[in-house]
Symmetry: C2
Subunit: 556 residues, 2 copies
Amino acid sequence: MSKNRLIYLPLGGAGEIGMNAYVYGYGAPGKERLILVDLGVTFPNMDTSPGVDLIFADIAWLEERRDRLEAIFITHAHEDHVGALGHLWPRLKAPVYARPFTGTIARLKMEDQGQDPETVRFVEPWPNRIAAGPFQVSYLPVSHSIPESSGLVIDTPVGRIVHTGDFKLDRTPIVGDPFDPDLWAEVAADGVKVLTCDSTNVFSPNPGRSETTVGPAIRQLVERAEGMVVATTFASNIARLKTLAEAGRDAGRSICLLGRAMRRMIEAGVESGVLTDFPKVVSPEEAADLPRDKVMLIVTGSQGERRAASAQLSRGKYMGLSLAAGDLFLFSSKTIPGNERDVIRIVNALSEMGVDVVSDDADLYHVSGHANRPDLSRIHTLMKPEMVVPMHGEHRHLREHVKLAAENGLPAVVAVNGTMLDLGGDRPQPVEFIETGRTYLDGAVQIGAMDGIVRDRIRMALNGLVVVTVILDEEDEPLGEPWVDLTGLPETGRSRAALSEVLEEDLDQFLRRADDKTLADDDKIEEAMRRIVRQSAQTEIGKKPEVVVVISRLSA
Amino acid sequence: MSKNRLIYLPLGGAGEIGMNAYVYGYGAPGKERLILVDLGVTFPNMDTSPGVDLIFADIAWLEERRDRLEAIFITHAHEDHVGALGHLWPRLKAPVYARPFTGTIARLKMEDQGQDPETVRFVEPWPNRIAAGPFQVSYLPVSHSIPESSGLVIDTPVGRIVHTGDFKLDRTPIVGDPFDPDLWAEVAADGVKVLTCDSTNVFSPNPGRSETTVGPAIRQLVERAEGMVVATTFASNIARLKTLAEAGRDAGRSICLLGRAMRRMIEAGVESGVLTDFPKVVSPEEAADLPRDKVMLIVTGSQGERRAASAQLSRGKYMGLSLAAGDLFLFSSKTIPGNERDVIRIVNALSEMGVDVVSDDADLYHVSGHANRPDLSRIHTLMKPEMVVPMHGEHRHLREHVKLAAENGLPAVVAVNGTMLDLGGDRPQPVEFIETGRTYLDGAVQIGAMDGIVRDRIRMALNGLVVVTVILDEEDEPLGEPWVDLTGLPETGRSRAALSEVLEEDLDQFLRRADDKTLADDDKIEEAMRRIVRQSAQTEIGKKPEVVVVISRLSA
């Protein structure tokens, strides 16, 4: 019996939807050779991460073991799978593999952060294999909402792992690889030990629909439109972009793409060969000169992002173009939970302009990129794995996927970020729990989510801030009175006197009465002043502000 | 021809869903006698109003004219219709009218803010009428998701206004008044000049369902449950509470209510007579002693509110009760857009405990309290008004409601907050635009949304804060070096040196080089230091922080 083990360790993507980063390893415990699958981001929000630019998985565990890291495999070009590559690669420095379209985007991510794009190597799909230590890895084409998505067939000394990546069962995806059940069956023929599987849509009870099903409805909508037509979707959904553009062209409209991400995706699509026959596009300047009923804009910002084209158009002129009463705006997208408020803001702003907004309440103009519950069952059955490891889901999705696997007679376990599984037995077995977390990209700096930096910002936002300044002379005697500076607080409270004056008076009284021992001790002064400000503000304005006390000693 | 006019002026609730406050007036322009319908709140969020407790309509316009305000009429006891009463009444001081259940809640709102509860007068519904200056007002019972909701029949010298309040067409609402088409027809018989009408569900294409339709599914779910059952809904939805409690009782479970709002609503229901036959409830202590399968908790917090019972239970023990694997948690509610993230957080926390969560994706366990599109059409047709004024909706809802009215042959206009309409003609006519806005309750203080206070908090949350302190002596010479204090910012940046030291050095250099004129001028020093900190931080950490500069002059 070998002392080697086969391990799985999600650092991101398990227990959340976002920042995917999955580690596999094989070898003696603590000496496993490792590979990493995906290195994505998740997006910040005002509630929990104000001011943060991007969120990455905490890769400290892997960084400490990077001498054992054989390679990084990127399954597809969505931000939650590749977005952190340029930022985190310098801490890992392993070869990166991807198929050409994904690789083109991955190279841009490297370049954006000043890294060598050539680090990313383009690979051919199954049956081509890449050797990475004890692993042989092959890219299995799958259908998804971006071209060239791939599962990974990871052959190990103890059996085959199929890591699905994000996938759906679409035999007619318009752009990119169709679902090919024969190919999956071929992969399964030699036996599958582990199916590591997308869980996103495990709660969706009906089989998923093909990308082709949205074409007719979109076509009809565009044909009937009388003013300008604007459509938004995810920039990376090139199939949808093509469907939209063709609907516009066939209705006699010139197509204009707005938004950097969209142009970048189209270019990568053409460059890598996954996209052919995209209708001819015109520039914003050209579009502005055409009659409104001869133009169709396809724009970024389907999630209400404030700086993207949709939001800009809803606020007024963008790139010389502006909307008007009688125009049509189509959301060919689903609103990701949490983005509702931003999307609705745009819809109402468009409504004020007299623009008719069509959103996707009835699933007419959008289909999901993930396998629904019956589709997952079909893959369970098709692949006949010895065990299932649910990934790419919040806890509720993973747990439900475990139940679904059980219905299909397959052992499975919920393994959230930091849960190391031993996959060598007849069922996934938790063996270690690694401290994981999130890393925030904050401006140019990577900070830990638990460092307290963002917590302090949230506190200032909730409570407002009082800066107290006090000067002490060479004898530790107060020089003048302490004063306060308020930010994010009302000027007056219950007593109708200026809040700053009330606080200054209370602080001055404290200083006058303080004994020498207190006055000699910065910590004591600071603690007392903080307490006084908070109590006094509570009485005056019903809030306890954050307090910064600055003590200047002339003796110092 | 009379020089008097009939006006409508929404101060809140039109162009948003929340903080309802509608003014009607009749008289010579600028001398109209006024009534106010509803005085509600809307709820803050971290994106736009961090740290704020409640949001009210800006009633400055009405306050300036309070000598002309005859009365305040509250249509029903939802927070967005009555929540601001206790806070804003002291600025208006007019008699308040409501039916007994609504009035009981309104009196509590007054008491909570130290106002005389007896100011709220209980009234009988139609055909009883209240005289209020030139108006005769009668309460028209309607069905909604809270008992005793009412429309108002407002008779004016130039005709009848029907102000629907929030309503649906439910002939079997379980608790509260059923929709009575004969009663509405009776009101319409003498002719209706204006229908001011709820717009919330104008985008819902199918007729609304009755509250009774959710009973069977809830009953079945509870019967089959094996562990503890927990159900959450809006505390004010007494009919739903009753349905839930009866389902629990009939399955042999003891009912326990958790959450202050829920107990308060039930008490008001019993006290005012709208609620009878509510199953017997047990205390949390009693519930904790019962076998899990003999207990059903009905709890607050269906929107994921962090301090409510649902969230508390998802984090651990609450009132001596805690959930466990095998328990069932039912969301008998819809998630209001914007609350998704908070609700999902609870669902995942429950999933981690092994609790099965049933939410209302398929509308099995919840129905809306508002009239859907066909229901609105039915009311248009039934009431045959001369014109429709859409209210209670975001801009998109109001605009769609105008379109629906047009389909029904009725003139209508979008009138958002601050738009004064003249209703005397044959169609609603905008005549004035009043500066309106929002008032934030921030702790104990009412502040204006545009005062800049909350904007400053948001900036600190996004950008972090640098406090700069500098001391100048009697000759305007710097005494020691300037120093900085960082909050919500990383300690080190690109240069790997401490950010505070980098900033202090740059500031010190500036001070050394500054000429006498600059050093004598606080504004100049402050401006320069702010600029230096922002530039220097941008280079180091890629962010421009907020800056507070405190200059201490020993001469002062």
